[in-house]
Chain length 367, copies 2
DNA sequence: CTGAAAGCGCTAACAA
DNA sequence: TTGTTAGCGCTTTCAG
């Protein structure tokens, strides 16, 4: 076992209360004793036991975050932003990775409960009501992502899918695309449904056409994008652009297209969503929708703190906006259905019809 | 505050000791009381307070891991493996991201100390002696990465850089490369030095030449690779292959080469290190050295547990091997110094001189 | 089979 | 300015 306050006190010839006072900088302890105690503290490398403090004070100063996939950059980047915020506020972060497994999600929540965390950000989408319920029952503030539901102690942050889809589709339309496909997220998740509906609405609004066989599902990961894009590309009649549900999916789609020797964006345009660091690094760099992670993390904090004050409050609904980032994975649509024949023409027209306003690479400091 | 055992006890008309017994499944409590207590437990969604348990039992059942960059896939993938191991062992993982800032590293270690973690994996390289020292002084088992030093309570895991460099350089040599450049890691870090020396040794051994201006430094990130590769490529006389210190650096190098319209591997070959998931996704997929993260995580566990038993033991030195994964970022060397002229010839010879034994993509389940 | 009591390391009245 | 005391929520002898 490590050193305890009592031992320090004994060595200094004072009571543990005095040591505690020195440790907390508080109170008016004589300079003399302070110095003496401080010296012993340093010598013995004393570090207070947080469990004891927590037990006594009843505050854990810890927030939890439950994410579905630690290897998805969107989440790690978000975790990073959130952690920075917490550290600045003298709080700790407990991270739990569920790997999309229900049991792991439940255990994670259970651990957070045991820790008596001050709040939980639940970004896993496969949680069932049980986890959420026990959190709420235990009066712990919760903030969810794209859950589309709030209640006392439960806030929610939704991404503006409608607005974002509107932006991408408008962008594609302005490039001349009228036949657009879609790769969505895991089937059965509420957020997947909202996203695909937003896509369909945008399609309708902008007079762009699609067809059932061009609407596919992925799993928010690269592999899912590869498979889904394969399905779209194996059809005799292909769309000239494919909108995907997130950057990892888009990267998979890119890969599938490359395997079939299609040029991007000359033969087919692809868009992503999230603007993870990687999206500017793949070839070609992805046109995507950026979500400000600082903003997102800030909303999580705000939601958790607000609810923390008063658990009877209804909880808040936040909406995080998206920004269209145009890079090289989208370009003018091939003129006609038989793309092959139009390459020459297209090259000639390229200079005038390319409204690509490229922005600086994100997250890459080249100098 | 949440429900405590005492309240449960009161409701069940028993003492808290009995409730504790039921909770721990232990002892011989009558079925009748067990059932009665269990019901109340369920009804009230009771979850024990881990701080109290920790305080009482003196065991935190928590390990800590300090990493320099949460957005570097190598680390997140490692964290994931490590966490899986821990969860299987009923332990928890406390993650700390230092973002390469010394103060953050120190604070992280301090938090781990407060938590009385059972062991710490210190993967940050910028830690100064102070952090390590307080860990050791507090009798907490520590395992470091590429620290090249062990002592009582302090184990170390080193990657077999010598062996790995030998493999890459041999591979390049067999492809006809005799002029090879190198992009290393952040200057001043011990591990960077070991890596570059390993490279130089391998170069010598295989009769490959390099030159001072081809030996550059990055920062283990994409941006550093871009800059370093830029320096190499801006020289009138270029190497035909560049070995880099990790995959992120290699990806940066790839990017820099692409910006200069060089074809890879036709014009220049590039190798990475780590075999992160992304390395098989970029274009072209990277030839790299794989480090088994399961193995690495297993070693961390083993080291921590072994030292945990007996802190007077000297600590162990582990070496993790590497496996060369050949993908498409390396190919036959251009025949002569003036690469441009040899393209045609090379194409003709390609069939016979290409010993690329491509392996299946890692981490991508296409079906 | 169950309860009483002590104590893990710390803080916060309240006294002195 | 400092010490005494009680107690946070739990486990664990030791009695009964």
């Amino acid at each position: 076992m490590s050193v305890s306050m009592r031992e320090i006190a004994k060595l200094a010839g004072v009571s543990s209360a005095t040591v505690s006072r020195v440790l907390n900088g508080s109170a008016l302890v004589s300079e003399e004793t302070t110095r003496r105690i401080q010296q012993i503290l340093d010598e013995l490398h004393f570090v207070p036991n947080s469990s004891a403090i927590h037990l006594k004070r009843g505050k854990s100063h810890t927030y939890g975050i439950v994410i579905p996939d630690l290897t998805n950059p969107f989440f790690t980047e978000l975790v990073k932003s959130f952690e920075e915020l917490l550290v600045a506020n003298n709080q700790e972060l407990l991270i739990a990775n569920t790997d999309l497994q229900l049991t792991r999600a439940q255990r994670s929540v259970h651990r957070m409960l045991m820790r008596r965390v001050d709040g939980v950000a639940l970004l896993a989408s496969e949680y069932e009501t049980a986890s959420l319920e026990s959190l709420v029952k235990n009066r712990i503030p919760v903030v969810t992502a794209d859950h589309y539901r709030i209640s006392p102690g439960l806030s929610d942050i939704i991404v503006d899918f409608a607005g974002g889809m509107d932006q991408v589709v408008a962008h594609l339309r302005s490039l001349g695309h009228t036949r657009v496909g879609y790769i969505g997220g895991t089937k059965g998740l509420a957020t997947s449904k909202v996203r695909s509906e937003s896509f369909l609405n945008a399609i309708r609004k902008h007079g762009v056409s699609t067809r059932k066989s061009w609407i596919t599902e992925g799993n928010y990961r690269v592999a899912g994008g590869v498979v889904a894009m394969g399905k779209i590309l194996s059809q005799p009649d292909r769309p000239s652009a494919v909108v995907t549900v997130n950057d990892l999916t888009a990267i998979g789609a890119l890969r599938a297209a490359r395997e079939r020797h299609l040029r991007i964006p000359e033969d087919i345009s692809i868009t992503g969503w999230d603007d993870i660091e990687m999206s500017d690094i793949v070839s070609p760099p992805l046109t995507t929708l950026r979500i400000s992670l600082r903003q997102y993390a800030g909303m999580m904090m705000e939601a958790l703190q607000a609810t923390g004050e008063d658990l009877t409050q209804p909880g808040r609904q936040f909406t995080v906006p998206t920004t269209l980032i145009v890079r090289q994975s989208t370009g003018p649509a091939p003129a006609a259905a038989k793309e092959q024949q139009t390459r020459e023409k297209k090259r000639a027209r390229k200079a005038e019809t390319t409204p690509l306003s490229t922005i600086l690479p994100a997250g890459i400091d080249v100098n």
